[in-house]
């Protein structure tokens, strides 16, 4: 780091990520929790649990997306993403994962209230569910969900411990050790994630299936993770320690990756629809028939423009990829739209008997508050940058 950089670094005000997200977290937790309780109490346990599932799965997806990005970072030993590695690490820290596993217990303990394949009287008259019973049963559900959590906790602990050792000692050889752990991690991650989403979300519509479902959600959450990251550091690029590090080259790189994930998301989303549409088979089209009523059909159209076309056009231009402020705004936009899109994906499958958007939003906000609070605490508890001696080199030649 040159002298001017060091002075800039010292004179710039400290970043406010930890404080902002703590305050926002507490607010969301209170407002969301209140809304969820007030509107959900009268609707019965069944509706409350299913509404909770939507909010829970969105924020667990944020953790899963950031976990995937962290694995990707260590696998290819990326340099450009080092300034934001702490954000990904905080989002998928072992503590965060343990809290999410605990928050999953209300769902895991009440499968009968959520999944129709758990109801013997339904399965008894349903040939398809009888044939799927080898997978759609509590044992497999617990293995595929808690197994996934166990895997993520273990791998996240390994990678983050190795990163901490490098930060403490400055020994670059720890990067090699992480590069040994991360690639098999990435392999298991995608595999186990498919089982996780199949068990928890796809089995809500137990007759329907789509082989791209798990990867589709994974790409969506990687996109949400990138958008959250861009929004977070893009608004802090004039504050320590990001001055000179979150520069136009960084936003260019994260912009290119965001563009790639935007295209991949659009490709998966559209090809899933196209194959279903042209095949026109009842057991597949039912998923889209459920979504052809309001408000879901509006959300689907909005998804095409807000989630694909607008980010695509913005990110296609090098000038907007080079501007941290533009990227922060785009990140906030994409991150918000992801919540609506996830609403479109999950909520019709919940088959709520008395649907109430306020309960769903309350659950989403409450889980978001909890997530942001844990995120902020984790983020504050460690230095913002990993072992930063050659950031300037990375910034110039990244």
């Amino acid at each position: 780091m040159s002298d001017t950089e060091t002075t800039m670094h010292e004179s710039a005000p400290k970043n406010t990520i930890g404080t902002n997200y703590s305050i926002l977290g507490v607010l969301l937790l209170l407002v969301g929790g209140g809304l969820f309780a007030a509107t959900g109490m009268g609707a019965g346990m069944e509706n409350m649990l299913r509404s909770y599932l939507y909010g829970y799965m969105f924020w667990s997806g944020m953790t899963i997306g950031c976990f995937g990005l962290m694995l990707l970072h260590h696998t290819i030993r990326a340099r450009w993403s080092r300034p934001v590695l702490r954000i990904w690490e905080s989002a998928c820290s072992p503590l965060m994962l343990v809290i999410q596993a605990v928050a999953f217990l209300p769902i895991a303990m009440n499968l009968k209230l959520i999944y129709k394949w758990m109801k013997p009287e339904v399965v008894a008259v349903d040939k398809i569910l009888q044939n799927k019973a080898f997978y759609l049963n509590p044992t497999v559900f617990y293995i595929t969900t808690f197994g996934f959590f166990a895997f993520m906790i273990f791998w996240s602990y390994q990678l983050q411990a190795l990163q901490r050792k490098e930060d403490a000692t400055g020994d670059k050889s720890y990067a090699d050790k992480r590069a040994v752990w991360a690639p098999p991690g990435l392999l298991f991650f995608v595999l186990l994630l498919n089982f996780f989403y199949t068990s928890v979300l796809m089995s809500l519509d137990a007759h329907w299936f789509s082989t791209i479902y798990g990867v589709w959600l994974m790409v969506g959450f990687a996109l949400a993770g990138l958008a959250f990251t861009g929004m977070t550091v893009g608004t802090q690029h004039k504050r320590a320690p990001f001055v000179g590090i979150i520069n136009e080259k960084f936003t260019y790189d994260i912009g290119v990756l965001t563009l790639a994930f935007t295209l991949l998301w659009a490709y998966f989303t559209f090809s899933q629809f196209l194959i279903t549409w042209s095949g026109n088979l009842p057991e597949f089209t039912v998923w889209f028939v459920d979504r052809s009523v309001q408000p879901y059909s509006t959300l689907a159209g909005m998804g095409m423009f807000a989630q694909f076309l607008i980010p695509f056009i913005v990110l296609l231009q090098p000038a907007s990829r080079r501007n941290p402020a533009v990227f922060a705004a785009l990140g906030g936009w994409v991150f918000s739209v992801r919540m609506f899109d996830f609403y479109y994906v999950v909520v019709p499958s919940l088959h709520l008997t008395s649907p109430n958007a306020l309960t769903l939003i309350g659950g989403l906000f409450a889980m978001g508050g909890l997530w942001l609070l844990v995120f902020a605490l984790q983020y504050k508890s460690r230095p913002e940058l990993v072992n930063g001696s050659d950031y300037q080199l990375a910034a110039n030649h990244g």
Binding site: S278, N280, H397
Partner: protein, 199 residues
């Protein structure tokens, strides 16, 4: 020899060879700082930041690609919609030989989801044509001869040396000043290059 124009050798520019990409970057920066505008750099591998240092602001190829892509999208969708008889729905009658309004799997005549893959492919195809064709046109390719080849050291430009040429068309071009600047920046070789007889 006469081609109706003066083809006698004229000064083309001053070519300097450098051993590393960093030296090339530093030299390019120095030349730009000195006020020269007509210059070109040659390297065996892509050099990060070189385009920025050279103030390279030619976006004609970008716009060509965009135009190609948009044309492809319109042509791809239009081809399917028009030959499929979609215009009939908005009251425009086409001769029967232009229409293949088949009922395929009970789908609507204007089956836009099914048309998107073809539209997408046409977009990619015409974008690629625009980029490759535009590149050839803007670079004046194919070009069997270029005056830069008259530089002795230039045969290593595709191997392990980095070259910077300040061209004689630059209004500030002064061979000796350029040469001394290049030497200052650590050039291995500096040559004043003439155009070839007949070109």
């Amino acid at each position: 020899m006469s081609h109706g124009r003066d083809t006698a050798p004229k000064p083309y520019g001053t070519v300097a060879g450098f051993a590393t990409a960093d030296e090339l970057l530093a030299a390019t920066q120095a030349v730009v700082n000195a006020g020269y505008k007509k210059l070109d750099a040659y390297s065996p591998v892509p050099v990060h930041g070189l385009a920025d240092v050279m103030n390279f602001k030619d976006f004609r190829l970008h716009y060509g690609a965009l135009a190609g892509g948009l044309t492809g999208a319109v042509v791809g969708m239009g081809l399917q919609a028009i030959t499929g008889g979609a215009l009939n729905r908005i009251g425009i009658e086409l001769p029967a030989m232009w229409q293949y309004a088949h009922n395929t799997g009970g789908k609507p005549i204007f089956s836009w989801p099914m048309f998107i893959p073809v539209m997408f492919e046409c977009t990619i195809l015409l974008t690629a044509f625009a980029v490759v064709g535009g590149l050839f046109a803007l670079c004046g390719l194919p070009k069997p001869h270029h005056p830069i080849f008259n530089a002795e050291a230039f045969h290593r430009a595709s191997q392990d040396r980095y070259f910077l040429c300040v061209e004689a068309t630059d209004p500030r071009y002064a061979p000796d000043q350029v040469a001394s600047l290049m030497h200052e920046m650590g050039a291995e070789s500096v040559e004043h290059v003439m155009t070839s007889e007949g070109y």
